[in-house]
Structures are given as structure tokens and as C-alpha cells.
């Protein structure tokens, strides 16, 4: 897994610390060229990976990356699946069943045999066939790019963990691995629960993206538990929220991360070119 992965939230107006700052970024990066400048700068400063959710604007970013031969070949793309807000909005607008019907209707009807009836909507009793269609639909636009791994969004990961739905976790891992030949990851805001769900599994090369920072921000229910549990497994841990929304100085943030040797990767979103260099320098120094 890449040591430095550029995050994507800032480009889509997502800011989990401040909605106001998120809106400012949305305005700033409505000119996609400005996002591309940040990406190119980050690439030149040492980012070898980029995380992108399946947000509608991701394709514009990927097209830009593809126009730069260096980045096209050397910047690894990691897809976070799906862009949840898109579905939450549709759930609010039309409800759960209609949202699922709508996603399926957009897809090749030949693939929906036994799952979907145009007149009746969802008819399947085979959840895995249904999930395959959903995953295929979400991933299809991204497959022509330099995609290296697929991560399941934390909302879904954490619901699966809470319900101990290990058969679906297994399914996701196997399907991505076998059909797409890509590395698999889970993003989580509740790593202790996911850890429990994965405890008896023997997944190879599994990526776990989790909040990890000196302040314990977003490390529910307990920072100490995170620090202890990561020692038990050999997953590829990718730390997020490393600077606790800018509360930590880069040196403090990454010296802490570096003191946990199981963490070898950091995903970091930055909207400002001037912040990237010092952050990346400290990541390189401590990790």
C-alpha cells in the first residue's frame, strides 16, 4: 500500500469537522482545475496514491490524471465505494426500496434476470446476486483507470460489523479479489467492531482505513483500544484523521503515527498547497 495517499473529501465539499469549511472548499474546487493543481503538487511532493469515492466528479479528476503520463502511470487510485451521501439523499427523497429499484433500473437488464422485474421491482431472494449488480454498477466507470484497490465505505462496513454479517464481508472480499483482481479494503469509524468481525478470517493483503491520531478524535469507543488491537493483526493499516482536523501540528501528528509501527500508510486530504509539503515531509520523516 502507498505510504502517502491524497484524500478526496476536500474536492467534493466534504468536511467532517466543519460544514462551513466544506462549503468553502466546494466553492473553491467547483473549478476542477484547482483540484487538479493540488493533486499534481501532491504527486510531485511524494503522494503515490489517491483515494476517490464514487462521487460524480471523480471521473473528471481521473480524466485529468490520465492526461498526465507521469501521473497516469504512477499515481495509484484507490476507490471508496460508494459515495454515501448520494444514496442517503436518494433514501430521503424516495425511500429504500425505490432507491434500490432505481439503481437496478439504470443497469443492463440482461444482468438483472431473477433479481428485478420491471413491473414489480426487486424480486430476488439471492442477496449476493443483487450485491454483485450494485458493486458492478458503482465500479464500472472507474475500471479503465489505474485502480489498485477498492474500499467499502465506513457506513456499510460498520453496519455489517455491528450485525456480525460476516458472510457479506466475506462476499465483498472475495468478489473484489476474484472478479476484479484488486486489493480489498474496509474503511471504518469503529475498528474494534470490525476487528471482532474479521477475527477468524484469514484475508491476504487486507487494507484497513481507520481514524488514528494523537488526540483520539473519531477513535470510538477508545483510542487505547485502537492502539492495542492493531498490534494483533498484519493488515495494511491506513491512518486517516491524522491531524485531527488541523488541531495537531504536522510534526506532532506524524511522530505519533510513526510510533505505531503497524501503520505504514496515511491518507490525507488537503485543500491548500502550502500545507502539503510540511505534512508530507513529516510523513516521510516518521513513517
Amino acid at each position: 500500500m502507498d505510504k502517502i495517499i491524497l484524500g478526496h473529501n476536500q474536492f467534493f465539499g466534504v468536511n467532517h469537522y466543519s460544514a462551513k469549511n466544506g462549503l468553502e472548499n466546494q466553492k473553491k474546487f467547483s473549478d476542477i482545475g484547482k483540484a487538479c493543481n493540488v493533486i499534481e503538487y501532491a504527486f510531485n511532493e511524494g503522494a503515490t496514491g489517491m483515494m476517490l469515492s464514487t462521487h460524480e466528479n471523480s471521473i473528471k479528476i481521473l480524466d485529468y490524471i490520465s492526461n498526465n503520463t507521469e501521473m497516469k502511470n504512477n499515481l495509484n487510485i484507490h476507490i471508496l465505494l460508494p459515495y454515501m451521501n448520494k444514496y442517503v439523499r436518494r433514501l430521503n427523497q424516495i425511500g429504500l426500496i425505490s432507491t434500490l429499484n432505481e439503481i437496478l433500473l439504470k443497469n443492463n437488464k440482461n444482468k438483472l434476470s431473477g433479481i428485478f422485474d420491471i413491473g414489480k421491482g426487486l424480486i430476488t431472494k439471492d442477496i449476493f446476486s443483487f450485491l454483485k449488480v450494485l458493486i458492478d454498477a458503482e465500479l464500472r466507470p472507474y475500471l479503465e483507470y489505474n485502480v489498485k484497490s477498492i474500499f467499502l465505505h465506513n457506513s456499510l462496513t460498520d453496519i455489517l460489523s455491528s450485525f456480525e454479517m460476516e458472510d457479506i464481508i466475506d462476499f465483498f472480499y472475495s468478489y473484489i479479489n476474484e472478479k476484479y483482481k484488486l486489493s480489498v479494503g474496509f474503511c471504518t469509524l469503529n475498528y474494534p467492531l470490525l476487528h471482532r468481525s474479521l477475527d477468524k478470517k484469514n484475508y491476504d493483503n487486507l487494507n484497513i482505513m481507520l481514524p488514528f491520531n494523537k488526540m483520539g478524535f473519531q477513535m470510538s469507543p477508545d483510542k487505547n483500544l485502537y492502539e492495542k488491537l492493531i498490534l494483533e493483526k498484519n493488515y495494511n493499516y491506513i491512518a486517516m484523521s491524522t491531524m485531527a482536523g488541523g488541531k495537531l501540528r504536522a510534526e506532532d501528528a506524524f511522530s505519533y503515527i510513526g510510533s505505531h509501527q503497524k501503520i505504514k500508510s496515511v491518507v490525507m486530504g488537503s485543500s491548500k498547497i502550502e500545507n502539503i509539503k510540511s505534512s508530507f515531509d513529516n510523513i516521510k520523516k516518521f513513517l
Binding site: 469537522y17 425505490s98 434500490l100 442477496i127 453496519i159 455491528s162 450485525f163 482536523g245
Partner: protein
């Protein structure tokens, strides 16, 4: 050690899923039964939830299961029926907001509630559990900004830009638009902070929807001469998520509070607070939750509900069914004021 609690979920849509995931992660607690009438969702649940019993009918669930509580997350039009059955079955219950559809339903709920043993009840006004709003409550209660004079509050989200489909946009199933769906949270917060208003005036407007309001502007007056307004819409551009802002002015300064910040300005020092500006962002106010669902408030709310059952303390829940009924009565008055184009008196 706390008693192990078994819960049931009534309605497994978006909110049913979210609450179940939180509840299942809490210690000494587990979801044991789900009542859902969609065949598709049930066929999925049957294969995936091996330790959870499934029902299509709430009566059957009550008959067959020995539960400590139920979470009512069905569409609004079923809330009254499910609340009444829960009360009559002596079940502790949580109901998502809004409490019910109209005053008639509220009166029926209150009538049944008064005749039965008082179990733990909670209405899902989760914004009381968001750290910024919780701290604002503490500051107001301590009279740090002095006596409240007035307030301005807004709540916006980019959600409805064409006629919606599904039960949320059908007045017979939802009871109303943005005020029922979202601003009931804000109305509850303001009542929690400032008490119930005594006079209400409102204007509701629709633009994208046929039957329900997309916009609301509400004016509250109080017996002690406080006053303030709420402006809300689910058809506002550039609000990716539901965004709330409240400004409350007092004799010693003001509070500005939103989903992820709190600002306090004081004219004179009081207690630990010096004169001038105080600023707290989301990270300053952060406390870990038992389960982080990605949106503040829900996990702490559910944890509080479970703890109150374990300690069997019905009086300690402030967002209980009684408060939920009053909030619903206020919403009815808002709709009445708008349709009759006049001030409405409210006596709680």
C-alpha cells in the same frame, strides 16, 4: 452488572437500519426482533440475520417475543398505532420524530399514556445529544449570557428540487413537509433551551411539492416577552447535509451554535467565562461514542435510552413522549397559523 436487554425494531428502512446498528454495538444489549412489511427486505434479512426473528406484523411480534423495548422507525403515519400498542403492552419505547401526524393522534396517545404504567419513552430528538447543542444548553441554563431576549434559527438542506416520491412526500403518510421531517428537531431544541412558546405565527410555502411545505418561516413569542424566528427549507442550494444555526441574544451577550461549532460572546465576565469571545469547534467538543455511525448524536441518544431502561428512571428522560406530544402540538399550530394566516395562542 447491567441487565442484558433485548430490543425490537419496528420498520427497517433507513432509520431502522441505523438505529439497529447502534443498538447492536452497545454492551449488554441486542436487537432480537424486527418487524418489517416489505417482502424484499424480509427475504434479505432472513438470509443475513441469523439471530434476529422477523415479523411482518407488530401484534405477532408483541405476542411472541419477550422484549425490553421497541424502536419505532416506521413511516410517520404508523407512529400513533405503534406507540399506543407499545404503551398498552407495557414496553419501553423509542419513536423517531415526528411523534405523530396531528393533534387527534397526539390526544389519543396522551390518553392511553395517562392510563398505563409509565415505562421509559423517548422521541428521537437526537440533536440534544450533539455536543455543540448540548454545551449551548448548559451555558443557557447557567445564565452565562444573562436573560434571553431573542433568537434567530435556520435549518437548511439540499434535498427536494423536484416533486418527491415515496411516503415522505405524501401528506397522508408523512403529515407534512420540511417542518415535520427536519425542523421538528430545531423546534425541540429551542423548546429545550427556552421553554414552550405562547404565541405562534407561521408561513409555509411549497414550490417543488404539491401537498407539503418546502419552506417554512415561523415566529415564536413567549410569556416573558422573549421572541424569535425560525427559517427552514429542504430546497436550499449548497447544503450537502442538514445544517442548523441558532443565534440567541441575551442581556450579557450571545450564543451562536451550529452542528459543529459553538461561539459565545460575553459583555461581562461570569464564572469561568471571561468577557469577549469564546470559540469551540467540533474537535474541541468531541467525546468518543460507543458506536460512530458518522453522524453525531444518534449513538449517545440510543445509549442514554438503554441506560435509562437499565436504571429504570422514566423521569430522567426529558425528550420523552410527553415532550414529543407538545412539540407535535406546536407543529400543528404552525400549520394552522399558516393556513389561517393569523397568530395562534399556545398554552402547552
Amino acid at each position: 452488572m447491567d441487565k442484558f436487554l433485548k430490543g425490537g425494531i419496528i420498520g427497517f428502512g433507513k432509520m431502522g437500519i441505523a438505529h439497529s446498528a447502534i443498538l447492536n454495538s452497545l454492551e449488554n444489549n441486542s436487537v432480537k426482533a424486527i418487524c418489517e412489511n416489505s417482502d424484499f427486505i424480509n427475504s434479505f434479512l432472513k438470509k443475513s440475520f441469523k439471530n434476529i426473528n422477523l415479523y411482518k406484523n407488530f401484534d405477532e411480534l408483541i405476542d411472541k417475543e419477550k422484549l425490553d423495548y421497541v424502536f419505532i422507525t416506521s413511516p410517520n403515519k404508523f407512529h400513533k398505532e405503534h406507540i399506543v400498542k407499545s404503551i398498552e403492552s407495557d414496553l419501553n419505547f423509542f419513536v423517531e420524530k415526528p411523534t405523530a401526524m396531528n393533534d387527534e393522534e397526539i390526544d389519543e396517545i396522551l390518553d392511553v399514556y395517562q392510563k398505563h404504567q409509565k415505562k421509559i419513552s423517548m422521541v428521537g430528538f437526537m440533536m440534544r445529544y450533539v455536543n455543540s447543542f448540548k454545551k449551548a444548553k448548559h451555558i443557557l441554563d447557567q445564565k452565562i449570557i444573562g436573560d434571553v431576549i431573542n433568537f434567530q434559527a435556520t435549518m437548511y438542506v439540499s434535498q427536494v428540487f423536484k416533486k418527491g416520491t415515496g411516503w415522505r412526500y405524501d401528506k397522508k403518510s408523512s403529515g407534512g413537509g420540511v417542518i415535520m421531517a427536519h425542523s421538528s428537531h430545531l423546534i425541540d431544541l429551542l423548546c429545550w433551551y427556552l421553554g414552550y412558546p405562547s404565541r405562534i405565527e407561521a408561513k409555509c410555502h411549497k414550490f417543488y411539492s404539491d401537498e407539503i411545505e418546502d419552506y417554512g418561516h415561523i415566529f415564536f413569542e413567549y410569556n416573558d416577552n422573549k421572541f424569535g424566528w425560525i427559517d427552514c427549507s429542504w430546497s436550499a442550494d449548497n447544503y450537502r447535509t442538514l445544517t442548523t444555526n441558532i443565534k440567541i441574544s441575551g442581556s450579557n451577550g450571545e450564543i451562536r451554535v451550529g452542528d459543529d461549532f459553538l461561539e459565545v460572546f460575553l459583555k461581562d465576565s461570569i464564572g469561568d467565562y471571561n468577557a469577549g469571545w469564546h470559540y469551540f469547534d467540533k474537535i474541541d467538543l468531541y467525546t468518543p461514542s460507543a458506536f460512530d455511525i458518522g453522524q453525531d448524536g444518534y449513538s449517545d441518544q440510543n445509549q442514554d435510552f438503554i441506560r435509562k431502561i437499565q436504571s429504570n428512571d422514566p423521569e430522567d428522560i426529558k425528550s420523552n413522549i410527553y415532550n414529543g406530544c407538545i412539540i407535535q402540538k406546536i407543529i400543528s399550530k404552525i400549520y394552522k397559523s399558516s393556513s389561517q394566516n393569523k397568530y395562534i395562542e399556545f398554552n402547552g
